[in-house]
């Protein structure tokens, strides 16, 4: 469900006199949400910001025929995720060739002086951030977009087997990261 103000903003987008300020209000309110949704899948700040710009520009272009059935926030995040997936497909990112990352990832965590202060959440956050990019993409699609193996395989144009392998690898890296702090 969408709250009142969002519906108002969307309806103001339809009127030439208020369209620009409505678009800016929408942008201010949700730009960072869209960036985070994209960044979870593509850990590249500049690329995430480009994709978020595209999302809002497209809303602007389609403002007269916009049909948002979910909440506006969910709609915008979904649009960002879809664009991120298109980007991955268009750039034919290979999903099998980054095994060398694993050791590198593990050697990062040697600042063990503040073990006490590190709670599980911090360790997990840091470990996700350090996942190999393709592994990170597959993991995020499962974790945050709640896609099935089959859906991830279809969206990334890879095999279900590859999805399974990347998931196994992601969990192993997270486990080792947590283990290292015990």
């Amino acid at each position: 469900m969408t709250d009142n103000t969002d519906r108002n903003i969307i309806s103001l987008l339809n009127e030439p006199s208020s369209a620009e300020s409505a678009a800016e209000a929408l942008f201010k309110k949700y730009y960072s949400d869209v960036c985070y949704a994209v960044y979870r899948i593509i850990p590249d700040v500049a690329r995430s910001e480009d994709i978020a710009q595209e999302v809002f520009l497209e809303i602007w272009r389609k403002k007269d025929t916009l049909n948002i059935k979910t909440s506006v926030k969910a709609y915008l995040k979904r649009a960002g995720v879809n664009k991120a997936l298109n980007y991955i497909r268009a750039n034919k990112v290979k999903f099998e060739d980054d095994d060398s990352y694993e050791m590198q990832t593990l050697s990062i965590r040697d600042h063990s002086s503040d073990i006490e202060a590190q709670d599980l959440q911090n360790i997990v956050d840091e470990a996700i951030e350090s996942l190999p990019p393709k592994c990170r993409t597959v993991f995020s699609l499962s974790r945050f977009e709640e896609l099935s193996y089959k859906e991830i395989a279809e969206k990334l144009d890879i095999s279900v087997k590859t999805v399974e392998n990347q998931i196994g690898k992601a969990l192993k890296i997270l486990r080792l990261a947590v283990e290292a702090y015990k």
Partner: protein, 344 residues
């Protein structure tokens, strides 16, 4: 090799993708030794923590400069205004009116102002048929007369997309939110598609409450079929029956009630007589188009009798119930959480 395999099985279990054959394999492995159990528990903890992943970058700080970029981008776009006025003029058939509680159900308010503040769009691109859309705001209800002479009452914060030409095959409507349908009999099936289920009828009266978490149908008259989208199972619902599909548990089930309360929100008033709190909360969810989660299972079975609440706010009703049952309620992320409480 082995570890990868176990991790994959665990992940499948967490995401509900574990196949029947692997279930016993995994549970056997887990119960084999305390170490295995500890391993599986620690992976679950990691998986749960990963849901709250917060990346070490702040996009909030970058919004201002990004906004400048966006502003110059949209100013470069050629502006081709299609005003709301012209959109309405193109809208040929379906009649819409804003509902004033109490009056409109009798049809007295038939001349009420058209399109007070609803967002109204025409979408000519959905396949062969032409559809129109209506989205209601908070505290706004709308009645739509469809061209087959069926009537749809749309509750607040809901979106309906409906056929606005005589359809060749089925009469199709899309719904996110709460609506009551009075469907005119026809040999063309009337089909309501929600995010996660499909409801099929020929001619009848019933209420639908649909969002991404599930679809609930309450039948007032006639016969209605409810089918989840990703399933070939369906249930048939008759008078005073409620059919429920829950997305997260994939449960599809029905309940029989002694009286009909699915359209209380149209009249603005409702009352309860020895109704279980589980049923009471589903009436409130429907009436105010909100989500309510009862944390305490024992509370669901308590019975509640009330005077007629007419145009009351949800909070005022919850406050009364809170005094009786001693529960706490809190609005978190748009969902009302009911915690604690007991029947006495």
């Amino acid at each position: 090799m082995k570890e990868y395999f176990i991790l994959q099985l665990l992940h499948k279990q967490f995401t509900g993708q574990l196949e029947e054959v692997d279930k016993s394999l995994l549970s056997d492995w887990v119960s084999q030794s305390p170490e295995n159990k500890a391993f599986s528990d620690s992976i679950l903890k990691i998986w749960q923590a990963s849901a709250n992943f917060a990346p070490p970058v702040s996009f909030e700080n970058r919004t201002e400069s990004a906004l400048d970029r966006f502003r110059s981008a949209i100013r470069q776009e050629a502006i081709t205004p299609a005003t709301q006025e012209s959109t309405i003029l193109e809208q040929p058939t379906a009649k819409i009116r804003t509902l004033t509680p109490l009056k409109w159900i009798s049809g007295i308010a038939a001349s009420a102002i058209i399109l007070l503040s609803a967002v109204f769009l025409l979408d000519k691109n959905s396949g062969d048929n032409s559809y129109a859309s209506l989205a209601t705001l908070s505290e706004q209800k709308q009645e739509i007369q469809l061209i087959d002479r069926s009537t749809v009452w749309v509750n607040e914060k809901s979106t309906v997309k409906y056929f606005d030409e005589v359809p060749s095959k089925e009469r199709k409507v899309f719904l996110d939110g709460v609506a009551f349908f009075d469907v005119e009999k026809s040999d063309k099936p009337f089909v309501i598609e929600t995010d996660n289920a499909v409801i099929t009828v020929l001619g009848t009266k019933f209420n639908v409450n649909a969002d991404k978490d599930g679809t609930t149908v309450m039948v007032k008259e006639g016969k209605v079929q409810l089918q989840p989208k990703l399933s070939n199972k369906h249930i048939i619902l008759m008078e005073n029956m409620t059919g429920i599909y829950e997305v997260d548990t994939k449960k599809l089930y029905r309940k029989q009630a002694s009286s009909y309360k699915g359209d209380s929100w149209i009249r603005g008033g409702y009352s309860f007589e020895d109704d279980s709190l589980e049923d009471v909360f589903s009436v409130l969810e429907n009436h105010y188009n909100v989500d309510i989660i009862i944390q305490n299972d024992d509370l669901k079975k308590c019975v509640f009798t009330s005077p007629v609440y007419q145009d009351s706010t949800l909070e005022s009703v919850l406050d009364v119930m809170q005094l009786i049952y001693g529960f706490n309620y809190a609005l978190k992320d748009g969902i009302y959480h009911i915690e604690g409480g007991s029947c006495s």
